[in-house]
């Protein structure tokens, strides 16, 4: 059980690191927020599942499941709100130069 939880947590960490690299490397608000949503949708998910395996069945695991459900409801709302605010205030999306 511990090995399983370690595998999940490490996989989650991998996606979080990828997302952090993405935030640094990508050119503008729009594409950066894609990287950020990668953290929420897989990084945090895998880490929480790992923690749930570590805890075993019980009250804490139930709480983790509630956190997951809320996370999956809130993540798209926040990403959409940020991006729509950027779009409405006139930020132009970065585009490939050669086209």
């Amino acid at each position: 059980m511990d090995i399983l939880s370690i595998i999940f947590i490490v996989a989650g960490l991998f996606f979080m690191i990828v997302a952090a690299i993405g935030v640094v490397r990508l050119p503008d608000v729009f594409s950066r927020s894609h990287a950020v949503s990668l953290t929420d949708s897989l990084g945090a998910f895998l880490m929480l599942v790992g923690i749930a395996f570590h805890e075993g069945l019980g009250k804490n695991t139930l709480k983790i499941l509630v956190v997951l459900a809320l996370l999956y409801i809130l993540n798209p709302v926040i990403a959409h709100a940020t991006i729509r605010a950027a779009f409405r205030s006139g930020v132009k999306p970065w585009q490939k130069k050669s086209s």
Partner: protein, 151 residues
């Protein structure tokens, strides 16, 4: 009822005073928000949405891996673009579900929604073609096919 379960989870104490307060407040909030029509039976719709979630989750994993590959690629081969999608969905809830599904899949984000026209920002050609193929939309149209249109 769901509110009460939530209260018990958050307060994490089973003393009578806490349980009683939670019961009173959760029913009060439910009563105020319900428009006095609790327990509307829409089980079939919810069941279909529940069955749709595993497929969405598979899409999330697939495009997460694709996006990670894009980010870690040394040449950073991204080609962001705005795509405008005209959906044929006839329900507010269906459009909300579509927008949320698109945003939840890494690499695509719903930028703007106007009744049933969506503007989507996608990271590159492959992902935007995935949106234009309307795979998600046809799944959602399937979920809502028996409901009364309200848009």
């Amino acid at each position: 009822m769901a509110l009460f379960v939530f209260w018990v989870l958050i307060s994490a104490s089973f003393e009578w005073i806490h349980l009683g307060l939670g019961l009173v407040f959760s029913f009060a909030v439910a009563w105020i928000n319900s428009g006095h029509s609790l327990f509307v039976p829409k089980f079939r719709l919810w069941l279909r949405i529940l069955l749709y979630l595993p497929w969405l989750f598979y899409k999330i994993i697939e495009s997460s891996l694709y996006l990670s590959k894009l980010i870690l690629h040394p040449a950073l081969p991204i080609d962001p673009q705005l795509v405008s999608v005209d959906s044929k969905l006839r329900h507010h809830a269906a459009v909300v579900l579509l927008g949320n599904s698109i945003t939840l899949t890494p690499g695509t984000i719903t930028v703007e929604v106007d009744s049933n026209k969506l503007i989507v920002h996608a990271m590159d050609k492959v992902l935007s073609e995935d949106i234009e193929s309307k795979q998600i939309e046809s799944k959602i149209a399937d979920i809502f096919k028996d409901e009364e249109p309200d848009l």
